[in-house]
Every structure is written in structure tokens, then in C-alpha cells.
């Protein structure tokens, strides 16, 4: 059964040391929940970026919430390097597990299908693979002479978190074309979602909306959070706020600038978010 709570309660469900999966920056990033995690001073998170990280994970790193990251890349896109990430990796404040986009998708699909591993083409000879003790290269196990192939162990996050435009009262959530969210939810033990709004219509009641809907079966809790992806964009709701992200990129270049950012943009809003 999906429960309906507020964002602060949602953040409380994620304990210190949890392994969380976050979607890529172009949409559905649960920024308000990320701010909630920072506000409650969550520690030692392992973060899986699916497959690329950006401002969300940079904030979590800067705020000291993160122990380890797995990602194919972390960047602020047009706004350049993710400053807290690059600093933390070079100074070894966090452990970085370098991966590559399809390896993350594939390892989640392994959990989605309940198998311990999945094969992936390519990759062999990359230093990514050379530094991953958990990955295995085996000679074609079918014995058909296809040569060596990479096997990726299944990834099962404790929590998949994302922000969607819309949920219904049954707990079904719109994901549209962002199908990796489905695989992330299938793979994770629990899925926590924030939404712009909750509708009285049942999203599964007609085939058009059903096609882009994640059923409540996979969703443990939902919180309403208007503007919950801001300053990032949300498909069909709002564009990313380029100025705000540029300001963040500039401020986060230094420790003190980042602290100022937290004070201005995160700790001030506690009251509002708790309602």
C-alpha cells in the first residue's frame, strides 16, 4: 500500500547509510527531497546516479551526506564541472565508483529481472573495468566462440527516489517517457516519490495515461511538493532555471560559498517544507 505523507516525513524514511538511486538531471530529480535529506543531516549515503549525476548529488556531497557514489559521470552540464563532486573526489572525501551509462542501466535490469548478473557488450579494455573488482570478464559461457564478455552484478538500491508531475489517489505515478524510473523502482527495495500534485482521476483508467504510469505496486510513499524539482526542470511543468544553476555553480566553487548557498537556499525553507 502506498502511503501519502509530507516531504519531511519522506526524508525521515531514508536512514543514514542508505543506498539511494537518483535519476539524471534532465527531469524528475527530487530536489526538494534532496534538500530534506540535507536538512535532517542524513549521513553516509551511497548514491547511484542513473546514470549521470548533477546538482542533486553535488549538493548532497557538499553537505556531507555522502560516503560513496557510483555514476557514469557527474557534471552540471552547460554550467561545467560539479564543484563539490570534483573537490570531494580529488581530496578523497568520498569514494567514487566510476561506471559507464549502459552498465548502470544493465545492472539495474538484472535486479529488475531477479537475476544475479547480466552481460554487457563492449567495455573490455577500459580502465573503468580494470578498476571494478565486482565486475567479471568471462569467456563466452555459451561456448559459441563469441569471445570474452563482461558480466555485471545486479544493483539493488535501498531506495529509488524521484519527483513526478502527477500521482493519483491510488498511488500510481506518471513517468511518461522516463522509463528508467520504472527499472529503478523495480530494482530497488523501496521507492519514494514527490509529485507536483495529486489528481482525483485514476491514471490507469485510460490506456493513454496508463502507458506512461508507474503502478502503485512499486511505490511505498508519496509526498506532494509543488516545484519539487526546482531549480532543475520538469517535463511539461517548468524549464530548468539556468540562472539559479549558474549561481549555484559559481557559489559552490568554494567551501564558504557553498555554505552560503545552503544557508540561503536550504536551511531557510525548513518551515515551509515541514508543512
Amino acid at each position: 500500500m502506498t502511503t501519502f505523507i509530507n516531504v519531511s516525513e519522506l526524508a525521515d524514511l531514508i536512514p543514514n547509510g542508505a543506498y539511494i538511486a537518483i535519476p539524471p538531471e534532465y527531469s524528475f530529480v527530487p530536489m526538494e527531497l534532496v534538500r530534506g535529506l540535507i536538512r535532517r543531516n542524513t549521513k553516509n549515503l551511497s548514491v547511484l546516479c542513473v546514470p549521470i549525476g548533477g546538482m542533486a548529488v553535488d549538493l548532497l556531497i557538499g553537505a556531507g551526506c555522502v560516503k560513496q557514489i557510483e555514476a557514469a559521470a557527474v557534471s552540471l552540464g552547460e554550467n561545467g564541472l560539479a564543484p563539490r563532486f570534483t573537490d570531494a573526489v580529488v581530496s578523497k572525501k568520498i569514494k567514487m565508483m566510476d561506471s559507464t551509462c549502459p552498465a548502470i542501466h544493465t545492472a539495474l535490469q538484472a535486479s529488475e529481472k531477479g537475476v544475479p548478473f547480466m552481460p554487457l557488450g563492449g567495455i573490455i579494455g577500459s580502465d573503468i573495468q580494470a578498476h571494478r573488482d565486482d565486475w567479471r570478464i568471462v569467456d563466452d559461457p555459451l561456448g559459441n566462440g563469441n569471445g570474452p564478455i563482461l558480466l555485471l552484478p545486479a544493483i539493488q538500491p535501498d531506495f529509488t527516489i524521484f519527483h513526478s508531475p502527477l500521482a493519483d489517489r491510488s498511488g500510481n505515478v506518471w513517468v511518461g517517457r522516463q522509463r528508467e524510473l520504472l527499472t529503478m523502482a523495480h530494482a530497488a527495495k523501496q521507492t519514494l516519490v514527490t509529485v507536483e500534485r495529486i489528481t482525483d482521476e485514476n491514471l490507469l483508467a485510460n490506456e493513454q495515461t496508463a502507458a506512461g504510469t508507474m503502478p502503485a505496486l512499486y511505490i511505498n510513499a508519496i509526498a506532494e511538493a509543488e516545484g519539487g524539482a526546482k531549480p532543475l526542470g520538469l517535463t511539461d511543468c517548468y524549464e530548468r532555471d539556468g540562472d539559479a544553476i549558474r549561481d549555484y555553480a559559481a557559489q559552490a566553487k568554494t567551501d564558504s560559498g557553498f555554505d552560503d548557498y545552503l544557508a540561503q537556499h536550504i536551511y531557510t525553507n525548513t518551515q515551509q517544507a515541514a508543512q
Binding site: 563492449g122 579494455g125 570474452p148 517517457r177
Partner: protein, 247 residues
């Protein structure tokens, strides 16, 4: 007609895409020049070239989530793709992770993205790096995000075909594991290329000068491609084409 450096690079990249082998080109994240080149090549080819620009939803028909690009490439349905590199070496190894002795890095860059897979599955990978310097074009990359060549026993249907820099166009010969200089951009010289490259290049006797974009192409680019690419890369379109996004 005058042209900007970016317009030359777009024109060169578009010319590489206009071959019958390439029916579908995909363009990854944060690649405005490759994106514009793909759209220009599509226009020049009368719309026969399928173009997928991953970043955003304009010119992106994928509906199966983030994995579709990679699945599509694994199926052999992506015929051309662009990759860059913080460092690129003479064997076409690319480094997108950082400099230093991994994991003890001096400088950290975003990471490998999908390069380690796309390089193996897309038959025409075009390396693209405007900064042509010995800092970028090194003898040996510090970290191999994706290897330029593989042993014969490794399943590999893709790999580097060419490299576009701010100075020149090179082709890549996978058997020799070597780049060959194809043409030098107008205003630059073979010596300049050699001076700024940290690895050996095959230099033919006669090196061509890169063809400048025709007036027709420039008009097309500015009138039709610029507003299209602005949907995905508003910042780039504003600075190069002086175009504002409608969004």
C-alpha cells in the same frame, strides 16, 4: 561569406555524416556542435538521415528511457556518434575521467558517460575536440575511458573513424592504430598541427585544406538549423547564432 570557427566545425562534421552507410546518427549530452552538424547533414540529405539528440526531447524520438540509446547502438541501429576527451592519445584511447594516476587524480572531470560502450558498437565514431593542444593530444592517456582499438578476439563492431579538432581533420586507421592527417583548416598549417600534437600522426605528401562551408550551407545553418538546435542548446545558439530560444 564569413563564417565562425564553430560553423566550420559543424560543416566538417556534417560532411562526414553524408555517406550511405550512415542512416542514423545519435548525439549525446552537451554536444551542440555535433548536434548542429547532424541536423545540417539531415537537411542536406533531404531528410533521409535519422537524427537523435539525446539531450532533451526536441529531435529525440526515443520512448524507452535512458537505456534506449545504448540498446539501439547494441542492435547496430546507431551508425554514427560523437565522442570527446579530456585527453586523447595516438591509439585513439580517450580519457573523460581525469588526469593523474587514477584513483589518485590531480584533476577530476565528469566521467566516462557511455563512451566505453558506444565506442564498441557504433561503426562511425567521430572524435571531436576543438582544443588542439599537447595537453589534450597526449602520447598516452592517464585513464582509458574507452580504448581506441581492441584485440581481434574481442567482439567489436564500432570504433573511431575520424577526429575533428580546431586545427584539422584526421582519419583513423584501426589496423595501424594510427591517425592520418586528412586536411588542415584554413589559416592553419601542418607544422602547427604537429607542434600541438603529442603523438605520431601519419602525414600524407599532399595535405588538403579543409573545405570552407559554402554560402548555401551557411544560409541553411543560420536560417533553419540554428533555431532547431536552440531548442536543445539555447546557450550555444545564443552565443554562436545570436538566436534566442522560444522556451
Amino acid at each position: 561569406m564569413n563564417y565562425k570557427p564553430e560553423e566550420l566545425l559543424i560543416s566538417v562534421a556534417a560532411s562526414l555524416l553524408n555517406t550511405p552507410d550512415i542512416q542514423h546518427v545519435a548525439v549525446g549530452a552537451a554536444s551542440p556542435i555535433p548536434g548542429a552538424a547532424a541536423l545540417l547533414a539531415q537537411k542536406l540529405g533531404g531528410g533521409e538521415l535519422d537524427v537523435t539528440i539525446i539531450h532533451g526531447s526536441a529531435n529525440n524520438t526515443f520512448t524507452d528511457g535512458g537505456r534506449e540509446l545504448f540498446d539501439c547502438a547494441g542492435q547496430g541501429r546507431v551508425h554514427a556518434f560523437f565522442l570527446g576527451g579530456v585527453q586523447i592519445d595516438g591509439q585513439a584511447n580517450i580519457n573523460l575521467v581525469g588526469t593523474g594516476n587514477y584513483p589518485d587524480l590531480e584533476r577530476r572531470f565528469p566521467g566516462s558517460f557511455g563512451s566505453a560502450y558506444m565506442y564498441f558498437t557504433v561503426p562511425n565514431v567521430i572524435l571531436f575536440r576543438p582544443e588542439h593542444s599537447r595537453r589534450v593530444f597526449v602520447e598516452k592517456v592517464d585513464f582509458i575511458s574507452a580504448p581506441g582499438v581492441s584485440d581481434p578476439g574481442i567482439q567489436r563492431t564500432g570504433g573511431p573513424k575520424a577526429m575533428i579538432t580546431g586545427l584539422c581533420l584526421m582519419s583513423f586507421n584501426a589496423e595501424k592504430a594510427q591517425f592520418k592527417l586528412e586536411s588542415v583548416h584554413p589559416g592553419h598549417s601542418v607544422e602547427e598541427v604537429l607542434d600541438n600534437t603529442g603523438f605520431e600522426i601519419d602525414i600524407p605528401e599532399n595535405v588538403l585544406t579543409t573545405a570552407v562551408p559554402s554560402d548555401e550551407h551557411l544560409k541553411l545553418l543560420r536560417a533553419e538549423i540554428a533555431p532547431e538546435i536552440a531548442k536543445t542548446y539555447p546557450g550555444f545558439a545564443a552565443s554562436v547564432f545570436n538566436i534566442k530560444s522560444a522556451a
